[in-house]
C-alpha cells in the first residue's frame, strides 16, 4: 500500500479554512435576500394608504359639514366592506366648545382607532 506524503499539511489546512469561510459568507449573502423580501412584504401588508385615505376623506366631509349625512355613512361602510375588505365606522359629536370625530378602521390584520378633536369657539 502506498504511503501518503505528509508534506504540505499547511496548504491543505488553509484550503479547508478558506473553503469553509467562503461557505459561511455564501450563507450570509443568501440570508440577505430574505431580508428584502420580508420587509417589503410586511410594508405591503400594512394598510397605511387605506387609513390615510379614509382619514383624509372624513376630514373633507367634515369641512363640507356633511359628516352626519346617513347616506354617506352607508356609502363608506358598504363600499368599504365589499371593495377594501375593511370595517369602517365613524361618528361625530359636540361637547362644550369642541367637535369630536371618532374613526375606526379594521381590516382583520390592522386596527386603527382615532378620536379627532377641534376647537370651535
Amino acid at each position: 500500500m502506498a504511503r501518503l506524503n505528509d508534506e504540505g499539511q499547511w496548504i491543505v489546512m488553509m484550503g479547508f479554512i478558506i473553503s469553509i469561510s467562503i461557505l459561511i459568507l455564501a450563507i450570509a449573502v443568501g440570508e440577505s435576500s430574505l431580508v428584502g423580501k420580508t420587509t417589503s412584504e410586511s410594508v405591503l401588508e400594512f394598510s397605511k394608504c387605506d387609513i390615510q385615505d379614509l382619514r383624509s376623506e372624513i376630514m373633507t366631509l367634515k369641512e363640507r359639514g356633511i359628516l352626519d349625512n346617513p347616506e354617506i355613512k352607508n356609502d363608506l361602510s358598504e363600499i368599504s366592506i365589499q371593495r377594501v375588505s375593511a370595517v369602517t365606522y365613524f361618528s361625530s359629536w359636540k361637547e362644550y366648545n369642541y367637535n369630536y370625530i371618532f374613526l375606526h378602521f379594521n381590516n382583520g390584520v390592522t386596527t386603527y382607532n382615532e378620536v379627532y378633536d377641534e376647537y370651535t369657539p
Binding site: 461557505l23 455564501a26 443568501g30 385615505d53 363608506l76 358598504e78 363600499i79
Partner: protein
C-alpha cells in the same frame, strides 16, 4: 492486472473534487438568489406611486369655503361629476409615467373603475372610468381613493345619483 496501489490518492482526489464542485455550486447559487426580492420592492413602489398620484388628483386647489367650483372641488371630483374619464386618463398617465428626464417616459398601464352605492336598493355598482390598455395576466397592484362627489344637472357622465355621496375610485396598475 488490478492492484491496490494508490487507493488513498484516488479517494483524496475524489473528495477534493466533490468539495470544490460543491463550494463552487454554493457560491454561484447564493449570489444569484438575490433577484426574487425585487418583485416585492417593485410592487411596493408601484403601490406608493399610484396612491400618491390619486391623492394629488383628489386635492382641491383651495378651501371648500371658496365659492368658485373650480377651486373648491378636487380635479377627480370634477371629472366624475362633469367631464368623464378621458382627461383623467391622460392626466393620471402623465403623473405615473413621469421621469426625471422630461424626454423619457415610463410604460405603466392602468384600469380605473368607479364603485358607488345605489341608495334605493343598497347594491354596489361599478362604472368603467378609464382603461389605458387591456389587462391580461401581468403582475399588478391595486390602489384606491375615496372621492366625495355631488353630481347635479345634465352633466353626469356616469349616471350617478344626484346627492351628496362618497364613491371609491379603484385603479389596477401594472408595468408593461
Amino acid at each position: 492486472m488490478v492492484n491496490n496501489i494508490g487507493q488513498l490518492y484516488t479517494i483524496e482526489g475524489v473528495a477534493a473534487g466533490v468539495l470544490m464542485v460543491f463550494t463552487a455550486y454554493l457560491v454561484i447559487n447564493s449570489t444569484t438568489v438575490i433577484t426574487p426580492q425585487d418583485i416585492h420592492i417593485i410592487d411596493l413602489q408601484l403601490e406608493q406611486l399610484g396612491n400618491d398620484a390619486l391623492s394629488v388628483l383628489d386635492t382641491p386647489n383651495s378651501s371648500v369655503l371658496n365659492p368658485d367650483p373650480a377651486e373648491n372641488k378636487s380635479y377627480l371630483q370634477r371629472q366624475i361629476e362633469n367631464d368623464g374619464g378621458n382627461a383623467f386618463g391622460q392626466n393620471f398617465s402623465f403623473l405615473i409615467n413621469s421621469k426625471v428626464n422630461p424626454y423619457e417616459s415610463d410604460n405603466l398601464n392602468f384600469n380605473a373603475t368607479i364603485y358607488y352605492r345605489d341608495s334605493a336598493t343598497g347594491q354596489l355598482r361599478m362604472e368603467e372610468f378609464y382603461q389605458s390598455a387591456n389587462y391580461y395576466r401581468e403582475n399588478a397592484v391595486k390602489v384606491k381613493r375615496w372621492v366625495y362627489v355631488n353630481p347635479t344637472g345634465q352633466n353626469n357622465p356616469f349616471g350617478l345619483e344626484e346627492r351628496d355621496q362618497v364613491v371609491l375610485v379603484e385603479v389596477l396598475l401594472w408595468r408593461g
